[in-house]
């Protein structure tokens, strides 16, 4: 709690500092944002911010680097940022993904503002303008208030932001839309013109704001969507060239919403479901690849019987239910495991290497994963592994000893923090493998049995007695 207060104080200080240092040095103001529209979606605990910027080059030279500004708190909770350029008019728009990189601006205001630079595909000539679409995804950004609720209460959360978009450029016109999950909004700070219709709060339009101008606001609203967070997910993908891929996923799940306080009454939970435990959740849905087989769902103390698997040719859906409903602050750990046919995921590349093509992500739908570790266990005897992942991850190698291993298997470990479903994409692990190694274990077993029988024969035929 204290840490949270301190964070908020820091945030406020940052804002003030920002206001004071507006006049200070700033990045080369080549660009002017002629129109900015921001849509903030607060319907779950993963916050999507869609920012549409119309950028105009007001400088004299062509420029290709547009800088985005974020507060440190936002950066701490930022799961991903994605930018694309919109081409064409109205219905015939096409979008082109652009590269975004965090940057340091040494001559920026001496406060903690963090910057991301968008690299445009073509430099923007003086006087030209282009439309950029930016997507920010934030996690752990909603603050439950009250922080502890009883079983019958619903969950209220705070959303803190600024009505004016933080930017290092002059913004001629801007509007912000905040979408709440329901019409139940306890309070929100107005900054005229402010308008609330249904589940949407509209801030703006505001005209001609100088760079770094902000105006803190908050929205206090009801959000009963499951705040399901996987604190840690370790996914182990074990490749066997005999035709199977075995996936084992270890989950540490927590309800990260307002903490449950006091009594948990089963009578109330069973009989009055609508008004009880509105923010709790019971079921989780995992989307698994098609042709999945031997699925299991268990934890440290044994099998959990409450799960259902539906399969069709395109996908498999596994509905699981933790042993107990999860209320705020309650945890559950469990393991999901399944087998997959090898030919769906393992291919041969042109340079005589093999590669695994698998989804980087968490099969559970709508989960935030604080720390995702993917371990790809290559078959024994495979060499020079190299992972290819579409976004930056940490990776290193390990060794693992599975059944009948002598030298151990190479394990490629990929780690990603703050993972959101939008990250879901394919990754590849390339490696070399000689098929002869497939026979190693079977030959070993066969020779062991052969030795055993030889020993038996020898024992029967040799007289070991001392007496004659």
């Amino acid at each position: 709690m204290e840490a949270r207060i301190r964070a908020r104080v820091n945030l406020a200080l940052t804002f003030f500092a920002l206001l004071f240092f507006v006049a200070g040095s700033s990045p080369p103001r080549q660009f002017v944002i002629s129109n900015a529209e921001r849509r903030i979606d607060l319907s779950s605990h993963i916050i999507n911010v869609h920012l549409t910027l119309k950028v105009e080059n007001a400088g004299t030279r062509p420029a290709s680097e547009v800088v985005l500004a974020l507060t440190p708190t936002e950066v701490d909770h930022l799961a991903m940022v994605d930018a694309s350029a919109i081409k064409g008019k109205r219905k015939k728009t096409t979008s082109l993904r652009l590269e975004v990189k965090p940057t340091e601006l040494p001559d920026a205001p001496p406060i903690d503002t963090k910057y991301f630079t968008i690299y445009l595909a073509n430099p923007l000539n003086s006087g030209e303008s282009t439309t950029l679409e930016v997507l920010y995804v934030f996690t752990h950004f909603l603050e439950p208030f009250p922080a502890e609720i009883a079983q019958s209460e619903s969950q209220l959360v705070f959303y803190h932001d600024t009505a004016l978009i933080l930017s290092s450029y002059h913004i001629k016109q801007q509007t912000t839309f905040i979408k709440t999950p329901s019409t139940k909004v306890e309070s929100f700070i107005r900054m005229e013109p402010t308008n609330r219709v249904g589940t949407e709060i509209k801030y703006g339009p505001y005209e001609d704001r100088p760079p770094y101008s902000i105006s803190p606001i908050h929205v206090h609203f009801e959000n009963n969507s499951p705040f399901a967070v996987v604190e840690e997910l370790v996914q182990e993908i074990e490749i066997s060239h005999w035709g199977n891929i075995q996936v084992t996923e270890h989950y540490k799940l927590i309800h990260a919403g307002a903490r449950h306080k006091g009594v948990f009454s089963r009578v109330d939970y069973q009989s009055r479901q609508s008004s009880n435990g509105a923010s709790s959740f019971r079921y989780l849905l995992a989307r698994l690849p098609p042709r999945v087989h031997s699925v299991y769902y268990r934890d440290e103390i044994g099998n959990i019987s409450s799960s259902h698997l539906r399969t069709d040719s395109l996908k498999s859906e596994l509905q699981i239910e933790p042993r107990y409903p999860l209320f705020g602050g309650w945890k559950a750990t469990f393991v999901i495991g399944y087998g997959l046919p090898l030919q769906d995921f393992l291919f041969e590349s042109s340079d005589d290497k093999r590669y695994l093509n698998f989804t980087f992500g968490c099969p559970l739908i709508g989960m935030v994963v604080d720390k995702l570790t993917i371990k790809v266990v290559l078959p024994e005897g495979s060499t020079d592994p190299s992972p290819v992942v579409p976004f930056p991850v940490e990776h290193h190698l390990e060794a693992k000893y599975s059944s009948l291993d002598v030298v151990g298997r190479t394990v490629v470990v990929l780690e990603k923090k703050n993972f959101v479903p939008m990250h879901n994409s394919h990754f590849q692990v390339y490696y070399s493998f000689k098929p002869i190694f497939m026979l190693a274990e079977s030959l070993m077993l066969a020779s062991a049995f052969f030795m055993l029988f030889v020993a038996c024969v020898a024992y029967i035929h040799i007289d070991l007695s001392i007496r004659k």
């Binding site: 009594v263 009989s271 103390i301 019987s305 107990y324 559950a332 599975s402």
Partner: protein, 720 residues
């Protein structure tokens, strides 16, 4: 060219087995099949449910095994467990039989060394079936030792599927008995072998077998009393021999020294009353040997008679005085209550309610004998008859083992297990001898018919032929009929055993299965739901109070500290919990606070109709609590000697803590169609107190079928 056919026929000849080799092949393959059968028949529970640990005690064994794998042997040996018997704790290393855990970890290490990536849980689950398979081998050799290899084979088959043994050795029943029966039978076998051969090597082996048994199970007391008794019987019947002397002395002295290395036994082995018989017989043996020597030296029989009289009297006197002195000075501890209750079945009921409260300590009903032994019950006396007909040192042993263990099996349900090997062996003698006699009858008759001209090969055969020639005409048909009868009975036995194993003994009791309304299987997994909730959502150092039955499970699965558990070593502590449960809430809260309890857990079957819940166990809590704290009186909870929970129940019953915790808000619950709310399905009544209010405790968690209910102890109000 000419040599080719010759060499080919040689080759063929060398492939053709001689009769002896054929017999060996058949015997070995039968043994292999029995070995596998004994293993797989115990896997019903894994197939029906999952690879999991069953019941109560196995969870403690599993937890300690886990500790042993993680922390190594020395830490295990010196382990002081803070998580049980709060605030007393428990010296685990010194109060358990480590044989089972060490065995499992050893198997685990070997498998790991051989590069099999197994989990320790799988090893624990399959330890009992594995040892059951080994027991069948021992049974074969034992049968071979006391009778012949045919009897050995039959014994192996009988014991492989005998329900009396399966009940304690299905996969997942990771308990001391699983390995102990193997150790018991092995010790007996090796000891009999030692007596038969007089070999020092075999008696040494029996000492080590005894050591393993001591390390594995408290039932070793049976060995250390049965063997002296057996020796005594041999002495009395005049079967004293040098072989016996070597076997017993070596086994006793070495076995004693080895057994004292187990910390839980330690000096008890020379000090406690239960072990005195062995020591007495040991000294008696020396006296016998001495007398034998004197007899050898003295040629005068009259002188020897006088000497004998003096020696025996003085030996008995010295022994008696030593025993008396030891008893008086407290050096020799008296018999424990458990031992007494074996000799006198009514003892526990009057003096130690905590022993009497355990269902497996109840006297055995006839039906469970029938259930566990089936046809063996009839074959057992027949086998005894054959044993008496061919009396030897070995058959005397098996007869004594059978008779004593049968008596104990009658005293306590769980001791059927100890009797099972003996019953199987003796029945095997009956089956084997009968079948053999009948087949001999058949075959000799055939021989008479077809080979009238050929001369009889063996003396015994010709004599039986001569005997048969003048016997009744329908003998052959009778033999065939009897043979079919025997096989019919044996096949019934096999069917029965499989049925019992699958229906009765393969349920883990942690997970309950029932048939739903549409014939589908409904799983009640409430225990694990509650334990896992405790594990995940309570503070790491939370103290949980429950009745002692669930102590092991809470520490193993919930990973939380408990006040009392299934190691019922401190009766007062258990009585305190019993007292808290049977007091009014405001009195109970004092006890609960003094024990620093954070959560109270009760098991309640009113919603599902699960009958072994805390309300049905409640009278034992009252009795055990009242045994130490006389404020708790059993009649207060009864109405006219009747135990009830409905409107007519005793007022103290309706307001005691256990009642309140079980029935809190149960009055609002509709359990069955057409019944009023608050209808208790386990007892089939509408509860008497529907308006239960709790003042110092609050509901923390109730499982989906209400089987486990957990209450949080509210912090004390500020005094200001």
């Amino acid at each position: 060219m000419a040599t080719m056919p010759a060499s080919a026929s040689d080759l063929l000849k060398s492939f053709k087995l001689k009769t002896k080799q054929q017999e060996l092949l058949i015997r070995v393959s039968i043994l292999c099949l029995v070995y596998i059968l004994a293993f797989i028949t115990r896997l019903f529970s894994v197939l029906r449910y999952e690879s999991m640990i069953h019941e109560f005690d196995p969870y403690f064994n599993y937890r300690t095994t886990l500790y042993l794998t993680e922390n190594g042997f020395y830490d295990f040996w010196n382990w002081f467990d803070y998580e049980s018997w709060y605030p007393l704790g428990r010296i685990v290393g010194g109060t358990l039989y480590p044989g089972l855990m060490v065995t499992a970890v050893l198997i685990y290490r070997i498998l790991r060394f051989l590069r099999f990536a197994v989990h320790i849980r799988e090893v624990c689950v399959l330890t009992a079936p594995f040892f059951a398979s080994n027991t069948t081998l021992v049974a074969y050799f034992f049968g071979k030792e006391i009778w012949d290899s045919g009897a050995g084979l039959v014994a192996a088959i009988l014991i492989a599927v005998c329900p009396g043994y399966i009940s304690r050795s299905v996969a997942g029943s990771y308990d001391n008995e699983g390995v102990a029966i193997f150790a018991l039978l092995f010790t007996f076998y090796v000891f009999v072998k030692a007596v038969n051969t007089g070999s020092l090597a075999w008696s040494l082996a029996s000492a080590f077998g005894y050591f393993y048994m001591v390390s594995a199970w408290g039932g070793y007391v049976f060995i250390i009393n049965l063997i002296p008794l057996y020796v005594l019987v041999l002495l009395i019947t005049g079967r004293y021999s040098m072989r016996l002397y070597v076997a017993y002395n070596c086994m006793y002295i070495l076995g004693m020294l080895l057994a004292m290395q187990i910390r839980f036994v330690g000096f008890q082995h020379v000090q406690s009353g239960e072990h005195m018989a062995a020591m007495g017989v040991f000294f008696l043996m020396q006296v016998f040997y001495f007398l034998d020597w004197v007899k050898h030296m003295l040629s005068d029989t009259k002188l020897f008679q006088a000497f004998l009289r003096i020696t025996v009297t003085s030996a008995v006197a010295v022994g008696g005085i030593a025993l008396g002195l030891g008893m008086v000075s407290g050096y020799i501890s008296p018999w424990t209550g458990r031992f007494y209750s074996l000799l006198d079945p009514t003892y526990a009921k009057d003096h130690i309610p905590i022993i009497a409260s355990v269902s497996e300590h109840q006297p055995t009903a006839w039906s469970s004998f029938m259930f566990d032994f089936h046809i063996l019950l009839f074959l057992f006396p027949a086998g005894l008859y054959f044993c008496f007909k061919r009396l030897s040192d070995a058959t005397i042993f098996i007869v004594m083992y059978g008779l004593t263990s049968m008596y104990f099996a009658g005293v306590m349900v769980r001791l059927i297990l100890v009797a099972t090997p003996a019953v199987c062996l003796i029945s095997a003698i009956a089956v084997s001898t009968t079948v053999k006699n009948l087949t001999v009858l058949l075959r000799s008759k055939n021989k008479v018919v077809q080979t009238g001209s050929t001369k009889g090969s063996g003396g015994s055969k010709s004599s039986s032929k001569a005997l048969l020639d003048q016997s009744q005409p329908f003998q052959k048909n009778g033999a065939i009929a009897l043979l079919f009868g025997a096989f019919y009975l044996l096949s019934r036995y096999a069917t029965h055993c499989t049925w019992v194993t699958s229906e009765a003994y393969s349920s883990p009791s942690i997970v309950l299965a029932a048939r739903g309304a549409h014939g589908n299987r409904v799983i009640f997994d409430d225990y694990r739901e509650a334990y896992f909730w405790l594990r995940q959502n309570t503070p790491q150092d939370a103290k949980v109070m429950s009745w002692w039955d669930y102590g092991y499970q809470i520490t193993a699965m919930g990973n939380r500290t408990v006040i009392v558990d299934n190691n019922t070593w401190n009766n007062t502590h258990i009585a305190t919990v019993g007292r808290a449960m049977s007091s009014y809430e405001d009195e109970a809260i004092e006890i609960i606070r003094s024990l620093d309890v954070d959560y109270v857990l009760v098991v309640f079957g009113g919603v599902t109709g699960y009958s072994s819940d805390d309300i049905n166990k409640f009278l034992w809590m009252v009795r055990i609590g009242g045994g130490v704290f006389p404020v708790i009186k059993e009649p207060d909870y009864l109405v006219n000697g009747e135990y009830r929970v409905d409107k007519g129940a005793a007022p103290k019953m309706l307001n005691c803590l256990m009642y309140k915790l079980c029935y809190y808000r149960f009055g609002e619950m509709m359990t069955e169609y057409g019944k009023p709310p608050g209808y208790d399905r386990a007892r089939g009544v509408e509860i008497g107190n529907k308006d239960v209010k709790l003042e110092h405790l609050e509901e923390a968690f109730t499982t989906s079928n209400w089987i486990v209910r957990i209450y949080r102890v509210k912090p004390a109000n500020n005094r200001w």
